[in-house]
Amino acid sequence: MRKPWIMAVALPLALTACGGSAPPGTEGTGQGGGGGGAGETITIGSLHPLSGAAAADGQQMDNGAQLAVDAINEAGGIESLGGAQLELASADTQGAPEVGQSEAQRLIQEGAVALVGTYQSAVSQNVAAVAERNSVPFVIDVSSADQILQQGYRFTFRLQPSAAVLGQRGAQYLAEVSENAGQPAQRVAVLHEQGPFGTAITASFTEEAQSAGMEVGPVISYDPASVSDFTTQITTIREAGADVLMVAGYYRDGVLVANAVDTVQPGLDAVWGVANGAFDTPQFPGEVGEAGEGFFDANYRLDTTNPETQALAELYQQTYGDEIRTAAVLSYDAVRVIADALERAGDASPQAVRDAIAETELESLIAQEGPISFDENGENANAAPILMQVLEGAVRQVYPEEYAETEPVYPATPGL
């Protein structure tokens, strides 16, 4: 090259060429407000994986947040701010921490007063750090890793139960349900994905199960991305003579577990998912058929006994032609939490919104043990999983009693 100078000039040009960011106030996919308030427009940032492996969930969650914004605008916006309309600025994290971070930075810069997101724990970690350093509240709809809220962050709140609560309740429900059936579980084998999610759930489950007098073992971890067959693991569990198998993993591996249990016939009293990504999804019974009959899962769940939730599910079906997932309901709730805080604060500055969120007392559309309210770490104090079971090819809520659609069947030896 004759003139390396060219580089010196062209590079800054190339870098600044990307400077044309969207002006604030870009319309979302919704049909805008119908309330016609005289107030200003308040922007809420929504950060979810709209492309990549988790795009289906991410799109659902973004839709849930949008429906909440539309509903609030429909009902007249934020009254204490002169009927100010809300607007959702959606961003695609691609499930990548660094993209999540730069998108969060952009949304804040474009004037978002609060953020909701993000599904992947690693992305939420990053967004939480951005929110903290910019003093903008961040409401996590879905992300289970305990450590996100163990950093002493004051601007991050979480709606879903943490991994610690999920594991602890999962073990507690197992103790109670098996006790009530007169067949107390004694030896629990564990099969978990090796990532932060499966590891954390296993740790808290094990602690609670042991204090309830159960023996835990063998504990087997696997890589959810590459696993293709569980026959060996299930055989090991059969040889160990476990009565119950706890499974913490995602959808695809959950299906493989069901198939392996069907093949090996380990003679278990129950297959017990904890926050399992497969056993409580509407698709699961259809995909594995008889093999999944009787499977349990202790997980967060939209409250099907709540008329408001039923109406939302119907609206979602009409608007997007798809069955609403619990994650989308959590996003819907996250926007409601922010709107409620705006209403109470009567002030749209991020700091005022943060302080009002900390004081939240709001009924949830998710099945939990009371209204949404946050403890000093930002955890939703009343968040708790409920127990579901696949019965006659459909996922039903079975425990605790106030959420039960039907009685749990225990023992539920799979494949018999």
Partner: protein, 345 residues
């Protein structure tokens, strides 16, 4: 590797690259870019920082795989070591990331020499060599995922400090200091590349790449040359890892050692031009902003493209098309092909 013959120099058998000009260009670039934070809005600034991180990553890869001809598909190993060593020292021992950076470079270089020696000792070539580097990166990922020493799959958060601190590489969000540090590290990596290529070992490296048997016959210590090249490459890449954690505040085994990191080390160099001094930087400048540009396009598409409104994943498609086009039309990469055209023949 040859650039225009500089007539001011005494004639040589092989045309010498214009080292002086390259260094001047680095200097000019550094000065011009130093003003960038003053004009860029904060959100764009984080994109600019990402470009520089990619550039450092790719500059490291380019030394071993471009100039050294040993194709690595496992540079995530060195990026991850740089990230983990520094964050471990910071979180567990309270040691400044600047020291951690040096420690990370040392560990990455040592690990690279070890696996490089094993791979070369058993005469792995081409695709087999590339696969072995990939396997070692995966090995580190699995080790980190299952090791209590480094917090297993949970990874580490960088503790937030109440005030900015140069010693701990932490500043206000959106502070220009982040960009300047990244820029300084990129410039260092560029200068290192140029100095290395000028050095005896650097010339040996290129000679060994071009014809190993001939080089050995001339008495060039092939194994030693290759190991030095690999070590230098790993050290530069590890710097990108150290900076990454300090900027993004979080690392876990997948972020550090995932195969996508290895790909991110390769792509800028391929797009810009493999085995050229400027290729990795040019490639990073093209790839880094890509997903932000496409995301902006999708948020408010220009007239006639309204159907794109609110869709996601366009950047992935653009990526794919761009890669295919560049490989077909500019097989030497953007910078490499341009240089070819401007060369006097």
């Amino acid at each position: 590797m040859s650039a225009a013959v500089d007539t001011a120099q005494e004639p040589q058998a092989v045309p010498e690259p214009a080292w002086g000009r390259h260094l001047v260009a680095v200097g000019v670039l550094a000065v011009v870019l130093a003003f960038l934070p003053l004009v860029l809005p904060p959100a764009q600034q984080s994109v600019a920082v990402r470009v520089l991180v990619f550039a450092i990553l790719a500059l490291g890869w380019n030394i071993m795989s471009g100039f050294g001809g040993m194709f690595s598909f496992g540079h995530a190993a060195y990026f991850g070591l740089g990230a983990y060593v520094s964050v471990w020292l910071l979180v567990e021992q309270g040691i400044s990331p600047w020291i951690g950076m040096l420690a990370g470079m040392a560990v990455a270089a040592a690990f690279a020499v070890l696996i490089g020696f094993l791979a070369l000792r058993y005469r792995l070539k081409g695709a087999y060599f590339a696969l072995s580097t990939f396997a070692f990166a995966e090995m580190l990922r699995l080790y980190a995922t299952n090791s209590d020493l480094v917090n297993r799959a949970v990874g580490y958060n960088v503790p937030l400090r109440s005030e900015s601190s140069l010693a701990y590489m932490q500043f206000e969000p959106g502070a220009a200091s982040y960009f300047w540090i990244a820029l300084a590290l990129t410039v260092l990596a560029l200068v290192t590349t140029i100095v290395f290529l000028r050095s005896r070992t650097g010339r040996f490296t290129v000679a060994v790449r071009d014809d190993e048997d001939a080089a050995a016959a001339l008495g060039i210590p092939v194994m030693r040359t290759k190991l030095v090249t690999i070590a230098l490459s790993a050290a530069i890449t590890s710097v990108a890892g150290t900076f990454y954690v300090q900027y993004y505040f979080f690392v876990d085994p997948d972020v550090a050692f995932g195969s996508s990191v290895s790909i991110q080390a390769i792509l800028p160099a391929v797009i810009g031009g493999v085995a050229t001094i400027w290729g990795p930087v040019v490639g990073a400048a093209i790839l880094g902003p890509l997903n932000d540009v496409t995301a902006t396009l999708l948020r408010n598409p220009p007239a006639g493209l309204e159907f794109l409104q609110g869709r996601a994943g366009l950047d992935v498609m653009v990526y794919a098309v761009l890669l295919i086009l560049i490989v077909l039309v500019l097989p030497q990469g953007v910078y490499g092909s341009l240089r070819e055209r401007f060369q006097r023949r």
